[in-house]
């Protein structure tokens, strides 16, 4: 009851002129970012974090959440019309979305994508409202030992599940954890790996690093690939058919649950949610032979799954300060920049904020419904703008964005260095998401390990004997052994 009244207060506060303007504007920006292959939700949130840094915290976070939801939804446009996922999350939507478009049903496919995205997001929003406070309450009993393993768990899971090779994923995760150790550490204020440089003492800032990994590296990748032309230009009705949702209600519900669950898993993002939902729908479907050939059920499953995982990914970011995905990691960093400290104490110190986030996600969901119904044709024009015009402008934004967080030129150089390294590593098959998670979780892992050891006077036993700690360790060990075997079998 208390939660409901807090939610009511939030909705009341956000149902005003400026929040609605911000919602519509930011969701549109997010959709445009998602529409353009090469621009990810992570980059969109990172760039908008720099742009909104002087705004009031609630307005800035509202804008970032709208960009996040908009970008994941917008990527389905390019998946359907170009057979290229606008963001990694929409790769599963390519299979059936593009096949439907080839059959002259591009509009129907976009309508289904809109319906799936909206329903998935709404399901996720309900879970966000229900589970965040309870998870936060459970997390109040967590100590340094549990947080150490949670951080390790996040890095290992992302390493295992993103990309094709767990070994490469783990290396990137450890590299990210290491990059987070550069600079002044938080316990004894000792400068690590700074080589006497005052700039390095400030550490590797997250936003410039992300802009490098997801912006500059992506620009270079896009410039080396041939540009695809929209194959489908004619668009039939985009009005979502309620019948499609009702007919596949079980698939919608299943995909929503899978999406939220995958979202909650630390570091595992929207792309994995979409693929898992798609695979589960295919297994359970009576029309499984239609999957990949223009199945409405397949498209609905993929789009419901990826959008449900957005609120799912925000749940652990708010309750545990362990983000569920790379975009959620940037969102969490932005919250910290704006003075909100996510983690178990959030429900104690700023309980209203959780419901504010629920409301923001709800508003973003309504905005994608609006744009999905009324802005289809103008959006189609966007994906036809040549990348030779878009990419130089995006690079200028990447430069400004890296600089504006702390007005340091050094951050621009960090962006450049991580961008070039990221481009080469990507080409060699190393995923970027584990690096980002490592960078975000590095501080928690370091402090938790040393604090835990101080508390236990140097004994490692509590890391393995405290019940929750032991359970998380067992999951980490199981994951590593399972994927180690898999990685080895590929020889």
């Amino acid at each position: 009851m208390e939660g409901l009244s807090a939610l009511g207060r939030s909705i009341g506060a956000f149902a005003a002129f400026w929040p609605i303007v911000y919602t519509l504007g930011a969701t549109l920006v997010g959709i445009l970012i998602g529409c353009m292959p090469g621009l990810s939700a992570t980059l969109g949130i990172a760039l908008m974090t720099t742009l909104t840094i002087k705004m009031a915290p609630n307005d800035a976070i509202l804008i970032l959440i709208c960009v996040y939801v908009g970008a994941i939804y917008g990527g389905s446009r390019t998946a359907i019309l170009l057979n290229i996922p606008g963001t990694a999350a929409n790769a599963a939507a390519c299979l059936d979305g593009f096949a439907l478009a080839q059959k002259g049903q591009a509009g129907r496919a976009m309508g289904i994508a809109t319906t799936g995205s909206v329903v998935g997001s709404l399901f996720g929003v309900i879970c966000l409202a229900l589970f965040t406070p309870s998870l936060g309450e459970i997390a109040l009993s967590f100590g340094a030992f549990e947080f150490f393993w949670l951080g390790v768990f996040g890095v290992m899971m992302t390493g295992s599940l993103t990309g094709d090779d767990a070994l490469k994923g783990w290396i990137m995760g450890f590299l990210g954890l290491f990059a987070a150790q550069i600079g002044q550490e938080g316990i004894h204020a000792f400068n690590r790996f700074t080589f006497g440089s005052g700039d390095l003492a400030g550490g590797v800032s997250l936003i410039p690093a992300l802009i490098g990994a997801f912006g500059f590296a992506e620009i270079l990748t896009v410039l080396t690939a041939p540009q695809a032309q929209p194959i489908v230009n004619s668009v039939d009705s985009v009005l979502p058919r309620i019948g499609d949702v009702l007919r596949y209600w079980k698939t919608v519900l299943r995909s929503g649950v899978i999406g939220v669950y995958v979202g909650i898993l630390p570091g595992v993002g929207e792309d994995m949610a979409a693929w898992s939902s798609y695979a589960a729908a295919k297994r359970a479907s009576a029309e499984r032979e239609q999957f990949g050939k223009g199945s409405v059920e397949g498209l609905i499953a993929a789009e419901t799954g990826d959008n449900a995982s957005i609120p799912g990914g925000i749940i652990p970011a708010l309750a545990l300060a362990i983000p569920g995905s790379a975009p959620a990691a940037v969102l969490m960093a932005a919250m910290i920049i704006h003075g909100v400290q996510p983690g178990p104490m959030l429900m104690v110190s700023q309980p209203q904020f959780v419901y504010d986030v629920v409301t923001m996600t709800l508003f973003a969901t309504l905005a994608i419904l609006f744009f999905g119904l009324f802005m289809v044709r103008p959006l189609l024009k966007i994906i036809q703008v040549p990348r030779s015009i878009i990419m130089p402008i995006i690079f200028v934004l990447c430069t400004v964005g890296s600089f504006s967080i702390a007005s340091r030129l050094f951050d621009v150089y960090i962006m450049l260095a991580i961008g070039v390294a990221g481009f080469v590593l990507r080409k060699l098959g190393y995923p970027m998401a584990p690096f980002v998670l490592g960078l975000v979780l590095g501080d928690i892992v370091d402090k938790s390990l040393r604090r835990g050891l101080v508390l236990s006077d140097g004994s490692l036993a509590p890391f393995f004997t405290r019940p929750i700690s032991a359970a998380i360790f067992a999951i980490v060990l199981f994951t590593v052994l399972m994927y180690m075997r898999k990685a080895w079998r590929r020889t």
């Binding site: 840094i53 705004m55 070994l167 783990w170 290396i171 290491f178 000792f190 690590r192 007005s407 060699l428």
Partner: protein
């Protein structure tokens, strides 16, 4: 660096370097810090794990078809990006001017071959200069005037 073997060797070298730097890092014993709270503890462990993963990669030695990087295609845009962000920005050139030059030259470089075949180079010059100017002025105004953010 196309094979697991080379990459494995690289990670082993990097991991050892991290481990060595962590091992030789000041453990702050002189100010009463216990060894298990030393600043180099986690970086050292990470270095060791990177070595282990590098060894696993080396042992696996799976030769895979790594995607070839088309450096010839990327070298000029890359040089322009590095020249703009590393050489022009924050070094006395007004930001709007640096951005204008960068965007115009970059569009010219990326579309040059295609437009040359069409005999439309003068049009390309006009397009790249005008888009560059419009974009740089818009970015400067939006960041500096609308969102009050300092530009480099």
């Amino acid at each position: 660096m196309k094979s697991d073997r080379l990459q494995g060797a690289f990670w082993i070298a990097l991991g050892f370097a991290i481990f060595y730097a962590s091992w030789t890092m000041d453990r702050l014993a002189s100010v009463g810090v216990k060894p298990f709270s030393a600043p180099g503890l986690l970086p050292g462990i990470l270095g060791l794990f990177i070595v282990l993963l590098g060894v696993a990669m080396l042992l696996r030695a799976r030769f895979e078809k790594a995607e070839m990087i088309e450096w010839r295609r990327i070298v000029l845009p890359l040089a322009l990006c590095l020249g703009f962000a590393g050489g022009m920005v924050g070094r006395g050139v007004p930001f709007w001017l640096a951005a204008w030059i960068f965007i115009a030259v970059m569009i010219w470089v990326l579309q040059h071959r295609e437009r040359k075949l069409e005999g439309a180079l003068p049009r390309l010059a006009a397009i790249s200069v005008s888009i560059g100017l419009a974009a740089s002025v818009a970015i400067s105004l939006i960041f500096q005037e609308l969102f009050l953010i300092r530009l480099p």
